[in-house]
């Protein structure tokens, strides 16, 4: 369920880092908690985002939820498919439902994130 090579936050985002580029999304747990997702506001390419700060907004039928950047850096691509098919976050949160790709400016930030084991343990505590 929670890929081994991803890292996670307690706010239920994931990041998958490859060659200094982090692909970011929300976890399957998060999409389940939010319910039917009907709108995603993705960050503009070129925006600088900071770890822990709002960088996207995901809206379910019921409410809008801010998504926090798990790592700092510059947005190099955002998932344009979400404009027409926001439900990808429900059906495939860990892959097709990615939100944005960020060129990491502080790669060591990744060390502060949760491993899949720790994230699932954290979910278990809740």
């Amino acid at each position: 369920m929670y890929p081994d090579n991803y890292r996670y936050t307690k706010e239920h985002e994931w990041v998958h880092v490859e060659n200094g580029i982090g692909t970011i999304g929300i976890t399957d747990h998060a999409q389940h908690e939010l319910g039917d997702i009907v709108f995603v506001e993705v960050p503009k390419v070129g925006t600088h985002v900071e770890q822990g700060k709002t960088f996207a907004v995901v809206e379910s039928v019921k409410a809008a939820s801010e998504i926090f950047a798990p790592v700092s850096g510059e947005v190099i691509e955002s998932n344009e498919a979400l404009a027409a098919t926001p439900e990808l976050l429900n059906s495939d949160a860990h892959s097709a439902g990615w939100i944005a790709k960020i060129k990491l400016s502080v790669p060591e930030e990744i060390d502060r994130l949760l491993s899949p084991t720790d994230y699932q343990a954290y979910l278990g505590e809740g």
């Binding site: 319910g35 039928v61 019921k62």
Partner: protein, 363 residues
């Protein structure tokens, strides 16, 4: 304070519902998902536990006089077995609550009120009871299940010997439902045909299961408060605390049709007459979002950067495939066809006022 629970609380949990604190009640917000549940009610049938709703019984030789005094609609026009949408107002003309008044007998009126307003409504009516009548906070005696959707009547009919087809909208009968004594009302809060069943709490779990079994062939599903909200919003039905509250009058909320100034004196009448003479300055309007974004409750309406009003309810309209809402606007802008701008997280998003209701069922 611990959350209040309906008799179906354990059933909701066993069905895997997401539970939320709704005005102090631990209620299911969704089971399968709001969109599926919304669609089920628009095209088939859904079942809601609305046992959190409050009930008040007004009885006695002057029961009608008390009801007439505290409500805006004309309860004297009700026939036995008929219900009407009405409201309780303060003396200044603002809403205490919106309610359904049922005429059970000449000396017995049954009021269905909002869950979180139940105690306030009871106290309000009791404080204004200068009549030979009694008021009972009857909520604890009733569970309430709502069977809603175009296929609701077929499902409900399987559980009662009473012929439901001739019962008109906003009418009810007292009889047996699933073997339990019940009040069976053709009312609802979804904009669809449907039934609201009032019965003693000890029957709630069995009735719930029997309704789901009776509806199995037409794929009935349990529905939560999430779908209840999107359904009522599409139908432009007001929600207390949003479209109506103590600082809003019926004229402002567009509820002129429930106010019967000619029925005689009632609480709030004087203020309403005065406001009618002076004219209102703001009014509830419907809107459709044209730009990219969803307008949510409380968002500001802007014109040239200045605040014009606020969104009272907003979100996606699943049956219409667009983002809609209701808002208060200056009277001059409240009619359909006016361009407005809604502040969505600090960004102006274009919208246009449109006529309500947004959705109307085929008859």
């Amino acid at each position: 304070m611990a959350l209040l629970k309906t008799p179906l609380n354990a059933v909701h949990r066993s069905l895997g519902a997401k539970m939320v604190d709704f005005g102090g009640w631990d209620m299911p917000v969704e089971y399968r998902g709001v969109l599926d549940e919304h669609r089920a009610v628009r095209h088939g049938v859904g079942l809601f536990d609305v046992s959190h709703m409050g009930e008040l019984d007004v009885r006695g030789p002057q029961a009608l006089d008390l009801v007439q005094h505290v409500t805006v609609n004309d309860a004297a026009k009700l026939k036995l077995g008929q219900a009407q949408y009405s409201a309780l107002l303060y003396g200044h003309g603002g809403f205490v609550d919106d309610i359904l008044v049922h005429k059970v007998a000449d000396e017995h009126y049954f009021l269905c009120v909002n869950a979180s307003n139940q105690d306030k409504d009871y106290e309000h009516i009791a404080a204004n009871n200068h009549f030979n009548a009694t008021v009972e906070n009857a909520g604890p005696r009733f569970a309430q299940l709502a069977i809603q959707g175009p296929l609701a009547t077929g499902v409900a009919q399987k559980l009662t010997d009473i012929n439901l087809a001739p019962i008109k909208r906003y009418h009810f009968v007292d009889g047996h439902f699933g073997g339990a004594p019940a009040r069976i009302a053709r009312t609802g809060y979804t904009g669809e045909d449907g039934w609201e069943i009032y019965a003693a709490p000890e029957h709630a779990v069995r009735l719930w299961n029997e309704i789901l079994t009776a509806g199995k062939s037409v794929e009935i599903i349990p529905c939560g408060l999430g779908a209840r909200n999107t359904l009522r919003m599409e139908s432009a039905m007001p929600l207390y605390g949003h479209e109506i509250h103590a600082s809003i009058t019926p004229w402002e909320a567009g509820l002129d049709w429930i106010v019967k100034l000619d029925k005689g004196d009632f609480l709030g009448r004087e203020a309403l007459v005065k406001q009618k003479q002076q004219g209102i300055t703001r009014k509830l309007a419907g809107f459709e979002v044209k730009g990219r974004g969803i307008a949510r409750d409380g968002y500001e309406i802007l014109a040239n950067g200045a605040g014009l009003g606020w969104v009272t309810s907003g979100g996606p309209a699943p049956a219409l495939n667009k983002n809609i809402g209701m808002c208060f606007l200056p009277l001059s802008l409240a009619g359909p066809g006016n361009a407005i701008e809604i502040s969505v997280r600090g960004r102006g998003v274009e919208a246009v006022t449109i006529a309500m209701p947004f959705y109307k069922r085929a008859r």
